[in-house]
């Protein structure tokens, strides 16, 4: 790889580039730790890793403003961290502790954070879309300038809720950015067995929604596209659709024999992995070197082990609290 890597061009500041790399690396290492914690039984339930897709969340989240909302899926650890939920709170959540961002009630698939308008952590495929549309409707009616960022996989586009949500957002010209993370598989179902039209931007355009196909393995391309999307939505031009092409390096969740794709296919994509390629470019540009890399790795490792200790030390929600949060408590 490295030898062929082209240096960064244009006016991308070294610090910014390095920061993007750090963010991706942080997600990658966090997910690796989650896998470890899952195999040793600290994390339970379903666990969907973002490994291989880090450039998508990292590039997109750069354009998410404080007042914006993010509506994500069950594969949302990365988005949660990038949105600014503390690693402690995320890890503690997966450990099922009171200190978790959902107080141990949500787990890996249901990370929530009110302060950053992180509205899940949704595990019904497609179900987050109408919610994002509604948040955007509120933003438009209140003229708050907020944008709703709706993250979903390409498999979700077959659901009726995609169709209804796109139409509603377009009809009402709502500030929603639909971020389709196209990793080409929905569990074991390849895109071409899921959609009669595999040109996803064409599907989006059939609702008169502006759409772009983006190399989601390239964090800079993703960041630039998300910026265009944000400007479009924020300036009242209505919804925007991003097809972010990426690839899932690991199993769909922790139970998955991966009979639906070859090891070679996975290998090939790993060679084009977002961290690997970007690291090479940063090196070729003299922005990253082994020393800097080790420093980054060390910082992140430290943060992660602190998060694990924090989660370990967390308090299990007492059973006496079971009945809380079914209905709001009088303030």
């Amino acid at each position: 790889m490295t030898e062929t890597a082209e240096p960064l061009t244009g006016n991308i500041a070294a610090v910014h580039a390095l920061d993007l790399f750090r963010k991706m690396l942080r997600v990658r290492r966090f997910e690796e730790k989650c896998a470890e914690m899952y195999s040793n039984g600290k994390i339970r339930g379903f666990l969907h890793l973002y490994i291989g897709e880090e450039a998508v969340g990292t590039g997109v989240m750069e354009s998410v403003a404080p007042e914006d909302a993010v509506v994500a899926t069950y594969r949302e650890h990365g988005h949660a961290l990038l949105r600014g939920i503390s690693m402690n709170a995320v890890m503690a959540e997966m450990f099922g502790k009171q200190e978790g961002c959902s107080r141990g009630r949500g787990g890996s698939m249901h990370l929530f954070d009110k302060t950053t308008n992180f509205i899940g952590g949704n595990a019904i495929v497609g179900a987050g879309m109408p919610v994002a549309v509604g948040y955007a409707l509120a933003a438009k009616m209140k003229n708050s300038g907020a944008v709703a960022w709706c993250v979903f996989g390409e498999g979700a586009m077959a659901e009726g809720e995609f169709h209804e949500s796109m139409n509603l957002a377009a009809l009402w010209q709502l500030p929603v950015v639909f971020c389709c993370e196209n990793n080409f598989y929905a569990m074991g179902t390849a895109l071409d067995r899921s959609e009669s039209e595999t040109e996803l931007v064409e599907k989006a355009r059939s609702y008169k929604v502006s759409a772009e196909k983006v190399d989601g393995m390239d964090v800079l391309a993703t960041e630039a596209a998300a910026r265009r999307a944000a400007e479009h939505a924020r300036s009242g031009k209505g919804p925007y659709f991003l097809e972010l092409q990426t690839y899932r390096f690991k199993a769909h969740s922790m139970f998955d024999a991966e009979r639906y794709r070859s090891k070679d296919e996975v290998k090939d994509h790993e060679l084009q992995g977002p961290l690997r390629t970007f690291a090479a470019r940063l090196k070729a540009s003299g922005i990253l070197d082994d020393q800097k890399r080790e420093a980054l790795e060390a910082d992140i490792a430290a943060e992660i082990s602190a998060a694990v200790s924090f989660a370990e030390a967390g308090t299990p929600e007492p059973v006496s609290e079971l009945g809380r949060f079914v209905y709001s408590e009088a303030q």
Binding site: C101, M129, G134, L137, Y327
Partner: protein
């Protein structure tokens, strides 16, 4: 309804009362808006929001496409986003298309988020049969939602409740479903001049009685009151309890009337098996077992998709005669 209107009261139809409640909500709080199929230009499939589009404008009276799941889900998102949406689903039958948003999203967010994300959403639906609309427009499925933790389920039977429950529902921080029985819209009733928000935590005795408790809600309330009149003619003194809210149920009120009469008939328009009447029967059994002299009776819909033909629909739905017979049975030990 007598033409004598007592002082301080006025006569009004259920439809008009629902409209007043909506108008008041839209006027008082600019976070409130109404969204659903044909609520605007058409005026509402049951004409409840007739004229609102002109009065409040298209931004707050939103005609939606035929997309139940999306516009109900959009209500969830808008509620989280700081608005106070009132979503109208034409009938509970169609709400199944949105049941995922209602049950898996609206009802779970508060809990899944550890108390952070509440959903102050109000959903109105028409329910019930009696207009020969057949098996895709006539069912009473509110009990399906009454089973779901995280939801509140209101079933206004009176003009005061249909007008006032909306305000209370809008003040609630959590999702509230309001079911309006299609046969009630044209029904007239008396409304206090000072009508406003009403409490939704308590069932109400609509008729005092001593010998048998008729426990019901919604459209069936009026059948029970008529049955009570007939029973009075036979010297049977029936009490009629209007549940008003199906989730949470007012156990205290239910047990109070049971302890008073020791004889119970439960009436609802849903199918018998697994209907709300079964839950009420179970609660009474659990909490007042030793107070009952005879088994309780249920009067529910026959277990068939509601048919079109008049005589079949009438036979499928609970009728006054059925309630009278059930009451006679629990009181006299014969039907």
């Amino acid at each position: 309804m007598s033409s004598q209107v007592p002082a301080g009261m006025r006569e009004i139809s259920y439809r008009e009362a629902a409209r007043e409640g909506l108008r008041e909500a839209l006027t008082k709080d600019d976070r409130v808006f109404l969204m659903g199929e044909d609520v605007g230009r058409y005026g509402g499939s049951y004409a409840v929001s007739l004229g609102f589009l002109e009065e409040f404008g298209p931004d707050r009276i939103r005609d939606t496409p035929l997309s139940e799941s999306a516009f109900v889900g959009a209500g969830v998102g808008a509620a989280i986003g700081g608005m106070r949406p009132i979503v109208e689903v034409m009938t509970v039958n169609f709400s199944l298309l949105a049941s995922d948003q209602i049950i898996n999203t609206a009802a779970t967010y508060l809990h899944m988020s550890g108390g952070q994300i509440n959903v102050p959403l109000v959903i109105r639906m028409a329910t019930g049969g009696g207009l020969q609309l057949a098996a895709q427009h006539s069912h009473s499925l509110e009990n399906l939602y009454a089973h779901i933790p995280g939801l509140k389920v209101l079933t206004p039977a009176t003009v005061e409740d249909v007008r006032g429950m909306l305000a209370t529902a809008l003040a609630d921080p959590d999702p509230v479903l309001i079911f309006e029985h299609i046969l009630l819209y044209n029904r007239k009733g008396l409304l206090p001049e000072q009508a406003g928000a009403v409490d939704i935590d308590h069932a109400r005795i609509r008729r005092e009685g001593t010998q048998v408790s008729l426990i019901t809600y919604g459209g069936s309330l009026w059948k029970c009151l008529e049955a009570a009149e007939r029973l009075a003619g036979e010297g049977i003194d029936a009490e009629v309890l209007d549940l008003r809210t199906l989730r949470p149920l007012d156990d205290e009120a239910i047990l109070a009337t049971v302890r008073k009469t020791r004889r119970v008939v439960i009436v609802d328009e849903g199918w018998r098996s697994g209907g709300i009447s079964a839950e009420i029967m179970a609660r009474i059994h659990e909490q007042a077992f030793y107070e009952l002299d005879v088994p309780m009776e249920r009067v529910c819909a026959a277990e068939v998709p509601i048919p079109y033909a008049k005589q079949l629909e009438d036979a499928a739905l609970p009728q006054v005669e059925d309630i009278v017979a059930a009451a006679q049975k629990v009181v006299n030990g014969n039907g």
